[in-house]
Every structure is written in structure tokens, then in C-alpha cells.
């Protein structure tokens, strides 16, 4: 029993140190990415296109829906307590601070995280990674760094887009519930928005982007010999990204608001 526990702890410690080494390798290669003028720039553009641009539709839909739900629910409940003025604070808290980064992260995990893990895992199985090594291409530099940067850039831009679209969506729905002028609505929103809201949203999207890209690429490279390892790797990638994003979200919120 103690022996088994020891082996389990040893394996976990080894996995953790391996993951940490992978992360530092990614950071190191990211620093050299621009300097090396690598052909991987095309991979970065493609990653931003896939993770960022192609996700705009679903992000718009979800942001609009969330904004609408808050306006409808808030417009129904808050007047009962005489707290209608809290509507704008709730919009800022829910959309900008919390759901904006978190839901954007979930969409990226579901779309890009799984795709990255599956793609890299299949490349390992078909020896494409070894082929890159054989021609002198560092797989971290060529495959991981563009995905790392692409996911982070997309995550930040999509979060900003989500926030604007969520707030705009709530404005559109508010026209049905309680018509307000555009300037009045956004003046109230801006007056409730603090600098730390913007900073914490930015930090969250940055950290979530790092988590999603590193976990997805790491799990992809953990595949070793068989294509049957790819689906479990994708599942692990999703599960661990979710958990780490939740933990990071709680931690960042604690740091900024407690």
C-alpha cells in the first residue's frame, strides 16, 4: 500500500517536472521565435485564423445570449428590490470580469484545445514529429510556439470581442424591455467600469490562453505509439484545461478583488 502510494507520488512528481520543463522550453523558444525569422510564422497566422476568426460566430451568439439573459433576468428581479441601478454593475461583473474570459476559454478549449491535442497526437503516431526533427526543425519552436502565441492572441482578442458584444447585446435586448438611449446606456456602463476590471479581464484571458495552449500541446506530445491514445489525450486536455482555468480564475479574482 505504502509502496504503491510512493510509486504514484513518484510518477506524479515526474510528470509535473516534465510538464514544467516543457513549459519552460516553450517560453524559451517563444523568446527566440521572432528573432529566428522562422517559416513557422505561417503556422501562427493559420492558428489565429482557426482559433480566433473562425470562433467569432459562436462567440457572438453566446455573448449576445448572455447579455440578453442578464438584462431580462435583471430587469425582472432587480426592480422588486428597488435596485435597478445595480443592473450595470451586474453586467460588468458577469460579462466583463467573469463570463467573458471564462466562456471564451471554454469555447477555445472545446474547439482549439481538442483540435491541437488530436493533431499533434496524430503527428506523433505517424512519425511526422520525427520527420521534423530529421530535417532540423525543433518541434517546440515550429509546432508549439505558433499554437501557444496563436491561442493567447486569439484568447485576448476574443475576450475583448465577447465583452463588447455581450454589452452591446444587452443594450439591444434592453430596447425591448426598457428602452434606453445608446449614450445613456454606455455612459452608465463606463461609469461602472473600473481600471482593475479591465486589467483583471486582460490577465485572465492571458493566463487562460497560456493554460489552454500549453496543456493542449503537452497532451498531444504525450501520445506515444498508437492512434487509440489520441482520444484519451484530447479528453485529458479538455479536463485539465477546464480545471486549471477555473482555479486560475478563482485565484486572479481573489488577488484583484479581495
Amino acid at each position: 500500500m505504502i509502496g504503491a502510494l510512493g510509486r504514484w507520488a513518484n510518477a506524479k512528481a515526474r510528470d509535473f517536472s516534465y510538464a514544467l520543463g516543457f513549459f519552460f522550453q516553450v517560453l524559451k523558444e517563444t523568446v527566440f521565435f521572432v528573432r529566428r525569422r522562422q517559416v513557422a510564422f505561417k503556422v501562427l497566422v493559420m492558428q489565429i485564423l482557426f482559433t480566433g476568426v473562425e470562433a467569432l460566430g459562436i462567440i457572438s451568439l453566446i455573448a449576445l445570449s448572455i447579455g440578453a439573459v442578464i438584462i431580462v433576468e435583471g430587469g425582472t428581479i432587480l426592480p422588486k428590490f428597488g435596485q435597478t441601478s445595480l443592473m450595470y454593475s451586474i453586467l460588468i461583473i458577469v460579462i466583463a470580469r467573469e463570463l467573458g474570459p471564462l466562456l471564451t476559454a471554454f469555447i477555445i478549449i472545446a474547439r482549439s484545445g481538442t483540435a491541437i491535442t488530436a493533431e499533434l497526437g496524430n503527428m506523433v503516431v505517424s512519425h511526422e514529429i520525427e520527420a521534423y526533427i530529421s530535417v532540423g526543425i525543433n518541434p517546440i519552436s515550429y509546432l508549439v510556439v505558433p499554437r501557444f502565441l496563436g491561442v493567447i492572441i486569439s484568447m485576448i482578442l476574443l475576450t475583448i470581442y465577447f465583452d463588447f458584444f455581450g454589452l452591446f447585446g444587452s443594450f439591444l435586448v434592453s430596447q425591448l424591455v426598457q428602452p434606453t438611449s445608446f449614450s445613456e446606456y454606455f455612459t452608465a456602463i463606463l461609469s461602472n467600469l473600473q481600471a482593475r476590471d479591465i486589467i483583471s479581464t486582460f490577465v485572465k484571458s492571458l493566463v487562460f490562453g497560456v493554460i489552454i495552449s500549453v496543456v493542449a500541446t503537452f497532451q498531444g506530445f504525450r501520445v506515444s505509439i498508437s492512434s487509440t491514445e489520441v482520444p484519451p489525450a484530447a479528453i485529458k486536455s479538455v479536463g485539465r484545461s477546464f480545471v486549471l482555468c477555473f482555479l486560475a480564475d478563482a485565484l486572479i479574482t481573489l488577488i484583484y478583488y479581495v
Binding site: E128, A131, S134, V135, G136
Partner: protein
């Protein structure tokens, strides 16, 4: 005969199984080395370890006296630029066209090379492999044999001085195999060092200068073609007779009749 790659006590473990066990051997420069052995004996792994693609768990690989896995980034880049590797399963990059599969090594090693020059080299190689019609195809659109040829072309496009090939004529039809054989003959004539895993009798009997026989992950024999043919180990003789057929079995039987069978 100068040696350019030396393996010292190489052990490789994959999935808890020892694929290579304490393998020590030297590979001669400017010659064609053929690695033979029964299926699953670790030939492909040995080739990848010798090429520096997979690091061994124990032991070292010296490339012109320098430990391959301790080379500086610049030295490693030089080594990769001067070497090529053709994989058993082709290992083409599936998300790239055939043109890009061949162009990428040139783009990486010679970033200053104009696009027109890269295109000219890729076209010349594809014409050599009779694959010009497939230039804009993805690897999935090619047959197994065509993929194999593209893999060989990718290994050769940088005009390397060292080429590693894993069963270059395996699983392809005789005409395509002859195309690949022609390419190997050409690079051999230019003095290129070739290290190949092969079961092909024609490669072993007409191109091999140096034979390596691997059995169960351990080195059973290594030496010139004539030296290995004289090896009396029945396992080595079995491998040789399977690959070389009558050529090997006749010589070794004759030697044993002459009482020379116990010597290597």
C-alpha cells in the same frame, strides 16, 4: 576506412521493453551500410538512434567524435543540413502539399534561398521521381509507393552527405523500387554515406559495403560484406540467407566444409 558515426553501449527502452541492448558499432564514411535482421529486432530504432532522432536511454552516439546529443544548436543545424532521413512509413507532413513537403527542409536550412530557386529544386526532384503531376497533392492523395518516393526525395533534396533510409524499396512495386535504387546508386557514386535498413536482396548484394546484423536488439555481426558472409553464427546465417538467398548460404556452407566456419 574512416568512421563517422560511432555507437557506444546504446540501450533503448520503449514502453518498458528493451528495443536495443548495449549496441556498440562504428559506421564507415562514404560507404553504404545495410542493417539487416528479423522483423521487430530494432533495426528502425537503431537507424533513428544513429541519426540522432531518438535519444538512447543509455550509451552515446559520436558523430565525428562529438556526442550527438551534446552538440551545440549551430552544430546540430549543420549536421541536419548535411543529412537526410527517409522513414519506413514515409512520415510525410499530411497538412502540407507535396511541394511544401519537399520545400520545407530548404526553407529551414537556407532561409536566404529565393523562392524560384526552391521551386526549381523541388520540380527537378519530382521529375526525378516521376511525380510532377502530384506537386499540389496532399500526401493522402498518393499511393503508398508514391509516398515512399516522396520521402526519399525529401531526404535527398538538400544534397546531403549522409543519408539514412528505412526500407527504401519496401512495400513498393518493382518499377518504383528501381527508381529508388537508381537514386541510391547516384548518391553512392557521389560519395554520400548511406545507412539503410533493408530486406531488399538487390540493395544488400549490389550496393552494400558494410553489413550490420541485428538480432533481438543486440548486435550479432558487423563488418564488410565478405566478413559478415563468413560469420558462422547460425542466427546470422539465417538472416543472411533470408535476405541474400543463395549468395550467402552457398558461401557459408562452402566455408564450413572447408573447416573455416568457426571463425569470423
Amino acid at each position: 576506412m574512416s568512421e563517422f558515426i560511432e555507437l557506444k553501449g546504446v540501450t533503448l527502452t520503449l514502453g518498458g521493453h528493451d528495443v536495443l541492448r548495449d549496441v556498440s558499432l562504428t559506421l564507415p564514411e562514404g560507404k553504404c551500410t545495410v542493417i539487416m535482421g528479423p522483423s521487430g529486432c530494432g533495426k528502425s530504432s537503431l537507424l533513428k538512434v544513429a541519426a540522432g532522432i531518438i535519444p538512447p536511454d543509455r550509451g552515446s552516439i559520436l558523430y565525428r567524435g562529438e556526442d550527438l546529443f551534446w552538440l551545440t544548436e549551430r552544430r546540430m543545424a549543420e549536421l541536419r543540413k548535411s543529412s537526410g532521413f527517409s522513414f519506413q512509413d514515409s512520415a510525410l507532413w499530411e497538412n502540407k502539399t507535396i511541394f511544401d513537403n519537399l520545400a520545407l527542409p530548404l526553407q529551414v536550412h537556407s532561409p536566404e534561398m529565393p523562392h524560384a530557386e526552391i521551386e526549381r529544386k523541388v520540380v527537378r526532384m519530382l521529375e526525378r521521381g516521376n511525380l510532377m503531376d502530384s506537386i499540389h497533392f496532399r500526401p493522402a492523395q498518393l499511393s503508398v509507393g508514391e509516398r515512399k518516393i516522396v520521402s526519399v526525395l525529401r531526404a535527398l533534396i538538400g544534397e546531403p552527405t549522409v543519408v539514412f533510409m528505412d526500407t527504401p524499396t519496401g512495400t513498393i512495386d518493382p518499377a518504383m523500387a528501381e527508381t529508388v535504387m537508381g537514386m541510391i546508386r547516384e548518391i553512392k557514386a557521389k560519395g554520400c554515406s548511406i545507412v539503410t535498413v533493408s530486406h531488399d536482396r538487390r540493395i544488400a548484394s549490389t550496393l552494400a559495403d558494410w553489413l550490420v546484423v541485428l538480432i533481438g536488439g543486440t548486435l550479432a555481426a558487423a563488418g564488410t560484406f565478405d566478413e559478415v558472409k563468413k560469420n558462422a553464427d547460425p542466427r546470422v546465417r539465417e538472416v543472411l540467407s533470408e535476405v541474400l538467398g543463395e549468395i550467402a548460404s552457398f558461401d557459408t556452407d562452402l566455408l564450413s566444409l572447408l573447416g573455416d566456419g568457426g571463425e569470423n
